[in-house]
């Protein structure tokens, strides 16, 4: 075991703060963890901040303004391990849905003085700007995975978290397939495990907040959904959610929407 305290930083970009909250949600583990981990930069939790370098930097949020692009580059330089945390940081987040629209239109629709608002053309996953060492997926990230990740870093191991399709975990858990038994469209077959299959557990289809699984074939799922009677635009909307901007889903969406960019 490593004895020196791990210097951890948490940075927020365009996001809802839900992933950071998951760190604070480790109520039981939080106090034990602080024996081994020092949050040297975690504004939501503490006024006190220490400059880098950091052993691990967790990045929450997508990169959507020029300032954020700057900042994330600086964070990268100061961090040994950079972790993109959550759907925004790994896939652009729900706000990446604006990437299909023209930025000018979007700004004008929202702000009376659009020229004041600085935004990048796209809401981007962190990996589009700097090198990301690990991804922790989900909207929000899973507390259990976060904890496992930190523990693995603490023992000096290259963290490993399974990235197979959610279906496996869902069925291990004993859920009944909502697609087969209820005809509910579900992204589970192409989405990465990690959430504990909560949507099917609560009677609905997976809406994809963990993004594509390691070898996802969303195109096959899309054609099956069309085969059982879903309209193209509805299939597209299903993929166009919290991780719609992920490369694999984006491709399917664009095909279904007929060559939109």
């Amino acid at each position: 075991m490593m004895r020196r305290k791990l210097k951890v930083a948490v940075f927020k970009f365009a996001s809802c703060s839900g992933c950071q909250l998951q760190i604070l949600n480790m109520e039981d583990e939080l106090l034990t963890l602080t024996d081994a981990v020092e949050f040297t930069y975690f504004l939501e939790a503490s006024r006190a901040t220490a400059p880098g370098p950091y052993d691990v930097a967790f990045i929450e949020g997508s990169i959507s303004t020029p300032e954020q692009e700057e900042l994330v580059r600086r964070v990268r330089e100061e961090s040994r391990i950079l972790v993109a945390m959550g759907a925004c940081a790994t896939a652009g987040g729900i706000q990446a849905l604006r990437n299909w629209l023209r930025l000018d239109d979007v700004k004008r629709a929202v702000y009376p003085n659009p020229e004041w608002v600085k935004a990048l053309e796209h809401s981007k996953p962190v990996a589009e700007v700097v090198k990301v060492d690990y991804e922790l997926r989900g909207c929000p990230v899973s507390k259990e995975r976060l904890l496992s990740f930190i523990k693995q870093v603490l023992v000096g191991r290259k963290p490993y978290l399974r990235r197979e399709a959610l279906c496996m975990d869902c069925r291990r858990k004993g859920n009944v397939c909502v697609m087969v038994a209820k005809g509910i469209p579900c992204l589970g077959p192409v989405v990465q495990e990690g959430c504990g299959a909560i949507c099917p557990t609560f009677g609905r289809g997976c809406y994809g907040c963990f993004g594509p699984s390691i070898d996802a074939r969303p195109e096959a799922l899309a054609s099956r959904l069309r085969e059982v009677g879903m309209k193209d635009r509805d299939v597209a909307r299903l993929f166009k959610g919290f991780t719609g901007w992920s490369e694999k889903f984006r491709k399917v969406i664009n095909e279904l929407e007929g060559g939109a960019r």
Binding site: M168, M179, C186, I214, R217, R224
Partner: protein, 364 residues
Amino acid sequence: MVSGGIYSGKFGELRKLFNALRLRGYRVIAPKLEDGVIRLKEVTSFDEVPYGWEDIQAPGKYSVREGGKHFRHGPDAPKRILYPPRLELFRLRPDWSVEYPKERFPPTALFAIKPCDLASISVMDRVQGGIGDPYYLALRKKLIIIVENCVEPGATCFCSTMGTGPEARDGFDIAYTRLDDNLVVFRPGSDLGVELLSELNIEPATDEVLRKYYDALKNASLKAKAPFELERLPDELELGLNSPVFKEVAERCFGCAGCNMVCPTCFCFDVIDEPELDGGAVRVRVWDGCFSYTYAEVAGGNFRKDLWARYRHWVLHKFAYWVRQFGVFGCVGCGRCITWCPAGIDLRETIKSVVEWVRSRGGG
């Protein structure tokens, strides 16, 4: 009195049998309707067993309706009970001493499972038989099995082709068959079965009942057929290793490994080693499946990086390799992988197509 033969009685005798198991202290696991699906769950009252309900199964589709005469099986196989999806194996303390999780192995009765599922247990027995999983073996030793023979197989069933149903041959304690609303045929398959049956109000089946019984099972047998024969199947499939069929089918496959999970005999597992903050570690076993991408992955590469290769491995394992490994087919014809495939892929069609491909090339 009851000895080895075939007996008949009224439906109410089943209730008595069920209660007798509970009285003897068994945890009874039986079909149970839950949220529109027949599950395999612990049941405390005979009335929970969904007699009077029927499931409707098709590739990628499942539903139930009330008023049907016969239920088959839902997504849960006995594997779920005997070989749990997630099991903590042990903990290592920082000094390398070993700590085992506390486990209890309650005496368990499987009630009203289907012959294909019974067959799956005997397949699992062979897999676990040699070196074996102690958890499985401990539970297995105390297991009582009451089988319900299938008078009406479902649309994805092919036990008759696989030789595992619709009538249970051996390995059960009692097999019963519901011939009509109030006529049930019983067969003991073990000393314990004989003992349990001797407590029931049943009598040796009359010729008429026997005729009905054999007719019903023969009819059922004609229904539960797949469009292929077992004879020479392992060899034919191996001749079809390079068949384009696998690639064609895999185009529709999501690679979700759902079939691995619902298959009553898929036994592959992964182990997850998790560090503990105190310097020790825990090892957990979880079900894995050959459809998962990382299944055949090593540090230097992936032996089956393409989905079609994984699909082919699964089919070949069940119908060819398994025979070479364990002397039986790995498939029991329950059809779960067909019903519960979200892509609606029909394994029977795949095998048929591969065999046709092999034969068209003069193989086989």
